[in-house]
């Protein structure tokens, strides 16, 4: 697969993962400094999933995800500057300071949605539109956490997508925790994709969400399946999140030893080590890349800091579309 993908795309993917990681680390810092407010749900530890999904299926699809959305926004065309400015609540922000951390968008990303499971039917609607317009090269990628599997919308939406043969890739990012409730305490059966998919007549797939190559190969395969069959699929990517549910969650429900074991499977280091082993990257190149991405986020923070606040005179503008 390394030969098939080529050195440059793989290095670009690693760079994107670093960009997400630095954005999240600095975003947390900005929050702790009081620069960002509200909720903040870090994607740290799950970067390989979104990066591989966008790399394998291409950005030119419809995408929708939960409030843990920074990574998808950065991958689908939003700049670090506009995303950081959104966290800072500034006029230059991705949503003009109206959405915040949970609500980032691009011309391909429908959100950033704040209610668990609320984005799932919206993603099915994008699949409905793709079919309606007969855009056979496009799919709708509908991303959710494992917590959403217990919501009614999950079951209703998968039923309709299967019933109507809609081109939707449902992706459960199983980070093993719905806030502080372990997935096995929330869902009555283990192996989410394998057990849920057959009940909708769908194919189910499980990827190692820490392993870029595994995710890439998996998403490439399911993308082809959906394009060929015009049927939805259900994917589960396993990757325990490193941080708490949100910034206000210290995640004391996991031991220090457990977290150390997790960090030993850091998707960025796994990917880096694989690229070095393949001779596609050197440690010093990695360090240079890491530094550049850190610098890019620091620049985004300066940009956000210097950006104007939204003009209060605009508060009531844009509630309704013209």
């Amino acid at each position: 697969m390394v030969a098939q993908l080529g050195s440059e795309p793989l290095r670009a993917s690693l760079r994107q993962m670093l960009a997400i990681r630095h954005f999240e680390i600095r975003g947390e810092a900005a929050y702790q400094q009081g620069k960002a407010g509200g909720f903040f749900h870090a994607y740290i530890g799950q970067e390989a999933i979104a990066t591989a999904a966008v790399a394998a299926m291409g950005p030119d699809n419809w995408w929708v995800t939960s409030y843990r959305c920074h990574g998808y926004a950065l991958l689908l065309g939003a700049t670090a500057r506009e995303c950081m400015a959104e966290l800072y609540g500034r006029a230059t922000g991705n949503a003009k300071g109206r959405g915040g951390s949970m609500h980032l968008y691009t011309d391909k990303l429908l959100g950033g949605m704040g209610i668990v499971g609320g984005q799932i039917p919206v993603g099915v609607g994008a699949g409905f539109a793709i079919k309606y317009f007969n855009q056979r090269e496009k799919v709708s990628v509908c991303v959710m956490g494992d917590g959403a599997v217990a919501q009614g919308t999950f079951h209703e939406s998968l039923n309709m997508a299967a019933l109507w043969n809609l081109p939707v890739v449902f992706v459960i990012e199983n980070n093993l925790w719905g806030m502080g409730t372990a997935v096995e305490r929330a869902v009555s059966v283990p192996n989410l994709a394998e057990t849920k998919a057959p009940s909708f007549g769908m194919e189910g797939f499980v990827f190692d969400g820490s392993d870029f190559f595994n995710c890439y190969a998996g998403f490439h395969h399911v993308h082809q399946r959906v394009l060929e069959t015009q049927r939805p699929v259900l994917v589960e990517c396993l990757a325990e999140r490193f941080r708490g549910h949100s910034i206000s969650d210290p995640a004391t429900y996991r031991s220090k030893e457990h977290l150390q074991r997790l960090e030993a499977r850091d998707p960025i280091f796994l990917f880096k080590d694989q690229l070095i082993a393949e001779g596609l990257l050197t440690q010093s190149e990695f360090e240079a890349m890491d530094k550049e991405e850190r610098e890019r986020v620091l620049d985004a923070m300066r940009f956000a800091d210097e950006s104007p606040w939204p003009d209060p005179a605009t508060l009531e503008q844009g509630v309704y579309a013209p």
Binding site: N94, I120, V122, A126, T153
Partner: protein, 331 residues
């Protein structure tokens, strides 16, 4: 008559004509909901549309209000113009998260990136003895939310013209029909027309008291106005037609003329549409009012089944008449 310029038509058929004309005009418009296609509509509003436009544009759904509403929102965000039928607005509560969290907020929350051009329509309010889980008036619940437009017409002319405007609007529109009005007929133009959103209509001009209602209550108020006329009370009757945005200028001008106001709604008293109007009117017309504004609403109980009790809780001609007489006498 082949050259007739008007047609006599029921509210049900007027709504269907609006759907038909807009579907013919714009291929992005589609209808989705429970029993809208093969069954031809639970109330036959969508009769014939499946045969004319096919199953891609007239879509029967499973009983999954939350997700077919969410699906329509996603479709609206990606280029389509869905018309969602709720078999009853009572079932919209299952879809409330989609209406409130997604439809109402997306345009603003995305900084103007994604409009949500969607119409949600169906019968609202009480019918005949369908008890409390099938009789709710939802307008006060949803009109509380910025980002939504709420329309509640009372007759065939407005139903057709307002639904056509709603389908062309780029925002989420809640279009509240009433089962008890579906069969009411009226003479309306054959030629295409639109009714603007946000404009109330003076149904009957009068000098003594401003009477305000919407949807089915307009019908009761027409009867009240007729009875009042026989008693020498000259009622100015206003049909809101659109609840949000509210046409305050029309209401204010009327109250400044009559100095007296009675507000009627089928929904409950607490935090009702008429409470909002009363507040706005006392702010704008305080010095013009000769009497506190009267309200006639549904009493503060879940809807009972027995027809005796049901009639007692919904505003009746008798209760409205009492309120008008009380207001005028004190003025």
């Amino acid at each position: 008559m082949s050259n007739a310029t008007t047609q006599r038509i029921s509210v049900r058929d007027a709504i269907r004509q609006a759907l038909d004309e807009e579907m013919a005009r714009d291929e992005r418009v589609f209808v989705i909901g429970e029993e809208v296609a093969e069954y031809q509509g639970a109330y036959k509003v969508t009769k014939g549309l499946l045969q004319k436009y096919g199953a891609q544009r007239v879509v029967d759904t499973p009983i999954s209000e939350g997700s077919f509403t969410g699906l329509a929102i996603g479709a609206a965000m990606t280029g389509l113009r869905p018309v969602v039928e709720f078999m009853s607005w009572n079932f919209s509560f299952v879809a409330a998260d989609q209406i409130i969290s997604n439809a109402a907020k997306t345009y603003y929350m995305t900084g103007g990136r994604y409009p949500v051009p969607i119409v949600l329509r169906g019968p609202n309010g009480a019918a005949a003895q369908v008890s409390c889980q099938h009789s709710h008036c939802v307008e006060a619940l949803y009109a509380n939310l910025p980002g939504l437009i709420v329309i509640a017409p009372s007759n065939s002319y407005d139903s057709k013209g307002l639904l056509k405007s709603a389908i062309r609007n780029n925002n989420p529109v809640l279009f509240l029909e009433n089962e008890m009005l579906y069969g009411d007929e009226m003479e309306i133009p054959v030629e295409e027309y639109l009714v603007p959103i946000g404009k109330a209509q003076i149904i009957r001009p009068g000098a003594h008291v401003t009477l305000v209602a919407h949807s089915r209550m307009v019908k009761a108020c027409i009867e009240v106005a007729a009875q009042c006329a026989r008693q020498g009370i000259d009622v100015e009757l206003i049909d809101l037609r659109t609840i949000k945005p509210l046409d305050l200028p029309t209401l204010i001008a009327s109250v400044q003329k009559t100095h007296c106001c009675v507000l009627v709604e089928e929904g409950h008293y607490f935090a009702g549409i008429s409470a909002e109007i009363a507040c706005a009117l006392q702010q704008a017309c305080f010095d013009y009012l000769d009497h506190p504004i009267e309200r006639v609403c549904q009493r503060e109980t879940p809807m009972p089944y027995s027809r005796v009790l049901e009639a007692e809780t919904i505003p009746t001609v008798g209760r409205i008449l009492d309120a008008v007489e009380r207001a005028v006498r004190r003025s």
